[in-house]
């Protein structure tokens, strides 16, 4: 080990480093250190001449390790690892010593001590490289089949995008028909296209698609494994129900037969790894029979798209609006049903056609005290749509809208609301509703118009509440099964709100649609395509490569106490049932080191970050 032949290359980074750190002194100081065979400096190590200098030195001096003292490893470690790999050195024998961000930039006022710190930093990294093992990246095979959970417009879109690219998809829908909430909508903004028509095409394409296997009345019960290699267990009620002769379907979309067509399909012709379908599988017949005639299937997939959508707010929770008590106070999903083609607009109490209709926006939304604190995003657009449809269908009808803010932010959205106001004479009143009560066959609405400062009273025939969108029922439980997280309201958490909006922190599991947060159809579809693209990106690779700096266990020392299993935040640890030692699932391990700290027997270490290395490095500082 002490016979290492390490080359140290110190970069000036123009003046970025050299203005503070005396680079020449750093080179002189480490030149004769144990293990160092060569040391040099250059103005820009990352430039082509700089990289060539490293390559030449490796060849000439027969180096077996390289330390580049320059900028942060996040910046150029990849660059330099490629450089040394170009001359046949194992890239994991190269490390960056950060003397820019952590030295020259933060100690500009004290060049002397900055130089000393730079020397120490370089020495510690040399110490680390002396014990760095040559490693190979871990190659993880990818099972090129996707699971899509939820058959709303998000799930349908994601399934089609993936299937159209040539990969098999299993679509699991909890309800007995595909389509999600869009089935219940009437015309959609901005052009009043009927939602069911738009949907029908997609549903038909999904059902006929040779690469898509649809499982309705089904739910995902468990997910095991890791990116590229998940095993899912799905429990199915559908077939059992049909067997009992129950009306299986409320819509006109027939339940698709459980054919093995897509599961036997191997996707694109050039796929190298054949699909593995574990038995029991839908291919070979049925899984185990559950209690109430339930069946469960187990199969392998490489990626999961979660698109479970939203559920409506319970009207009973809106008692302050008279909901549940006054029959003519309904929520806007119910009104949406009345507006659907072929349906009549009649108020629930006496079946009369309402003329004066009051819409109450933010009923329960943006109301941390009584409802939910968030904004439901779609209602500001749904309400003008419904008001316009009402005006069209019921001549002489007058719509009033109580609002706080009109959130019509979107392409052509604001113009749409303007149209409702100017063309359909929808009366927008900025203010809250203070009281709702019944008087005769009318619903009296008391409120305040905050713009004129006056109290208003409207005798309405019907009151429509724009209630909050909630996360789909059972989203939290599903999230637990999928090892993804939800926010306080049950919406799935994305990996990063701006830069990774469809990914989750569990690699290989993606989210799309209203399950991530309230959103309308255009946004839902865009997200679904985004999630599909992410899954396809995974499928495009033969293997996913992972950093080999993962935890390893010394079986001789391991007592199988399970401390590491508990400590691991990524679920990478388990105790082998036969050998009775802790094992690491390399594909899940992120090299965080939690298990190393937890192990009472010092049986764990992270490769190339072993305790000896870290202690050796620490010794140089103290």
């Amino acid at each position: 080990m002490n016979k290492s032949r390490i080359g140290v290359f110190v970069c000036h980074c123009g003046l970025n480093i050299a203005a503070t750190v005396d680079v020449a002194r750093v080179v002189e100081a480490v030149r004769d250190d144990p293990g160092v065979a060569y040391a040099a400096e250059y103005k820009y190590m990352c430039s082509d001449p700089g990289q060539n200098m490293i390559k030449d030195a490796v060849r000439e001096h027969n180096l077996d390790g390289v330390v580049v003292a320059a900028c942060s490893p996040a910046m150029h470690q990849v660059t330099f690892r490629k450089t040394v790999a170009g001359v046949g050195m194992n890239p994991y024998r190269m490390e960056s010593a950060n003397i820019r961000e952590q030295v020259s930039w933060v100690h500009q006022d004290d060049p002397e001590r900055a130089t000393l710190k730079a020397i120490e930093t370089v020495r510690t990294i040399v110490e680390k490289v002396r014990r760095n093992e040559p490693l190979e990246p871990i190659a993880i095979p990818v099972n090129r089949r996707a699971l899509v959970i939820g058959g709303g417009v998000a799930g349908l879109t994601a399934a089609l995008d993936i299937a159209d690219a040539g990969y098999p998809v299993i679509l699991v829908e909890r309800a007995d028909a595909l389509g999600g909430k869009m089935r219940q909508l009437s015309g959609t903004y901005l052009n009043f296209d009927a939602a069911p028509d738009m949907l029908a095409k997609r549903v038909a394409r999904v059902q006929q698609h040779p690469h898509i296997q649809v499982l309705t009345s089904a739910e995902v019960m468990a997910l095991e494994g890791y990116v590229g290699n998940f095993t899912v267990r799905v429990s199915c009620r559908g077939t059992a129900r049909r067997a009992q002769g129950e009306p299986a379907d409320r819509s006109d979309t027939p339940l698709p037969p459980l054919t093995p067509k897509s599961l036997s399909h191997r996707g694109r012709g050039d796929l190298k790894s054949p699909l593995r379908v574990r038995s029991p599988s839908p291919l070979s017949g049925r899984g185990g029979q559950g209690d109430e005639g339930e069946e469960s299937f187990t199969f392998d997939v490489g990626a999961v798209v979660v698109a479970t959508g939203w559920d409506s707010y319970p009207m009973a929770a809106l008692a302050e609006y008279g909901a549940g008590e006054i029959p003519d106070v309904i929520d806007y999903l119910a009104f949406e049903r009345m507006l659907a083609p072929g349906e009549a607009i009649r108020r629930p109490s006496d079946g009369r056609t309402p003329r004066e209709v009051v819409f109450v926006q933010c009923a329960g939304s943006r109301d941390p005290a009584n409802g939910v604190p968030y904004c439901s995003k779609v209602c500001c657009m749904v309400v003008p749509k419904q008001a316009m449809l009402l005006a069209e269908r019921v001549p002489g009808a007058q719509a009033y809208v109580f609002y706080t803010d009109i959130r019509s932010a979107g392409k052509n959205y604001d113009e749409y609301v303007q149209r409702a106001m100017s063309e359909r004479h929808v009366l927008y009143l900025r203010g809250k509703v203070s009281r709702l009560f019944r008087e005769g066959d009318r619903v009296m609405v008391w409120g305040e118009d905050t713009l004129s400062g006056q109290a208003v009273e409207i005798a309405a025939d019907l009151v429509v509440l724009a209630t909050p969108l909630l996360a789909a029922e059972g989203a939290r439980e599903l999230a637990q099964r999928l090892r993804i997280s939800t926010d306080a309201h049950g919406f799935y958490n994305e990996a990063h709100p701006k830069l990774r909006p469809v990914e989750t922190l569990t690699a290989g599991v993606f989210v799309a649609g209203a399950g991530q947060g309230p959103k309308d159809i255009p946004e839902t579809v865009a997200e679904a395509s985004g999630a599909a693209a992410k899954a396809l990106q995974l499928f495009a690779q033969d293997h996913i490569t992972q950093e080999p700096t993962v935890a390893v266990v010394d079986a001789d020392l391991c007592a199988a106490c399970g401390a590491c299993v508990e400590a691991c935040p990524y679920g990478a640890r388990s105790i082998h049932p036969v050998w009775h030692v802790a094992t690491v699932q390399a594909a899940l391990c992120q090299g965080c080191g939690a298990c190393v700290a937890a192990c009472p027997n010092k049986a764990c270490s992270v490769r190339n970050w072993t305790p000896e290395q870290i202690l050796g490095m620490a010794d140089l500082y103290v």
């Binding site: 904004c375 803010d405 932010a409 713009l451 830069l499 947060g517």
Partner: protein, 432 residues
């Protein structure tokens, strides 16, 4: 079918598209008009709703694009023409002359440090200058400079001096560049790329405040747009994150933000809602409070459009931290001594309000990116200002009273302008 994709526009949209396609195993050509990628996100300080630093979350992606073997990065380039059809497009790309050999340049920055000539920086939105040879920011990808032919002394004096048989002036960068990368005789280059699909991600631009003279836009130095305020907040900006107003560098104690400036206004601006400004204004007011603890931020708004995950909660947090929301329209903004007076009406109580602010930030309407960015010189060659608009002979009383301190923008040297704007400004000048 050519399995190769062109992405036009290197903002965060183009970057992400390029990375996703490239990581799916296909080759990508990324065409960006500016010298480096990043788009507007590179100009932002911290971003809503999580307030993470824009540059920090973006740099890993720009660096990845820079290193990616499947991505061919063509910056300082624009698409000239597209022929062919889906599956087989032939795209002609024009690369503007950079006057620097990027293969030789190591990005050391010496030239930028030493160049003695400055110009107004578009990237800094007029808040700070840049050199005649410049990169957009220190984290630029690629980190290679270009020379602005309208600011470089060498290029500006070349024709004249060479006619006299002398060497052009300056040339400092050429003398000092350690890799001899400066090429003053650089010319536009044309490339033909064959691709199967094209992704358009050319992003947006903000409407110029000069379109709103009633708000003092383009006339009052302390009336700036949202992006300029982002530069004031950015720790990598010209003021290193200290909020200082442009006119005198003082820390503003009272800021008025005006939302929907030029948006939702079919008469004066755009009829549509610009969607992002409600959120970034809330963010800017919040960040201002974090920087200037005793400062007060007022926001004029019509609706607070915070529809989005965690957005409503973000607004609530802003209000809790002391942002003052005023529902109403601003009718006039003008300078009065040290202060900028904002007159408007509070539509909630129907009363007029007048605020004396130190700085006014207009949340200007978002427009699509201009199809073609003309260099100022291209404009100059088409239209030369007449003698009457030159500074020394101006009859403008304002200029006579204030001299070089006058903030009237038409007279600031180096500012990019167009004939239309010149004319409009000349007309305005006649009025004052």
């Amino acid at each position: 079918m050519i399995p190769r994709v062109m992405v036009i526009g290197g903002g965060i949209a183009g970057i992400q598209a390029a990375l996703d396609v490239a990581n799916s195993g296909y080759e990508v050509v990324l065409v960006e008009r500016l010298p480096s990628i990043g788009g507007h996100m590179a100009q932002l300080s911290e971003t809503f709703p999580t307030l993470d630093c824009s540059q920090c979350i973006m740099t890993p992606r720009t660096v990845e694009v820079g290193h990616h073997e499947q991505i061919k990065l063509m910056t300082y380039s624009e698409v000239e023409s597209v022929a062919g059809e889906v599956g087989h497009f032939r795209v002609r790309v024009r690369r503007a002359p950079t006057y620097v050999d990027w293969d030789a340049c190591t990005g050391c920055g010496t030239c930028q440090q030493k160049c003695p000539y400055k110009a107004e920086s578009d990237f800094e939105r007029g808040i700070g200058p840049r050199k005649a040879i410049y990169t957009l920011n220190p984290q630029a990808v690629p980190n290679k400079p270009v020379i602005d032919p309208d600011a470089c002394k060498w290029l500006l004096t070349r024709a004249e001096r060479e006619a006299e048989g002398k060497k052009p002036q300056c040339g400092a960068c050429q003398k000092l560049c350690p890799t001899e990368a400066i090429r003053f005789d650089d010319a536009p280059a044309y490339f033909e790329e064959e691709v199967g699909a094209i992704i358009l991600a050319t992003g947006y631009d903000l409407m110029s405040p000069a379109r709103l003279p009633e708000y003092g836009g383009g006339m009052v130095a302390d009336v700036i747009d949202g992006l300029a305020f982002e530069r004031l907040l950015a720790s990598s900006g010209p003021t290193a994150g200290a909020v200082r107003r442009p006119s005198d560098g003082a820390t503003p104690k009272e800021i008025v933000f005006v939302q929907c400036a030029g948006s939702r206004d079919p008469e004066h601006g755009a009829p549509y809602c610009s969607k992002i400004c409600c959120m970034y204004t809330a963010k800017q007011a919040m960040l201002y409070k974090h920087r200037v603890h005793d400062g007060q931020a007022h926001i004029f708004y019509i609706d607070v459009r915070a529809g989005g995950k965690r957005y409503e909660e973000f607004i609530t947090r802003g209000i809790e931290e002391g942002t003052d929301y005023l529902r109403g329209k601003v009718s006039k903004i003008y300078r009065d001594g040290e202060k900028v007076i904002v007159r408007g009406a509070d539509t909630l109580n129907g009363k007029p309000v007048t605020l004396a602010a130190d700085l006014v930030v207009l949340a200007m309407a978002v427009l699509p990116a201009p199809t073609r960015r003309r260099s100022p010189r291209a404009w100059a060659s088409r239209w030369t200002p007449t003698a009457s608009s030159s500074r020394s002979t101006t009859s403008c009383s304002r200029w006579r009273a204030r001299g070089p301190a006058c903030t009237w923008p038409a007279w600031r040297p180096g500012r990019r302008t167009s004939p239309k704007r010149w004319r409009r400004r000349a007309a305005r000048r006649a009025r004052c």
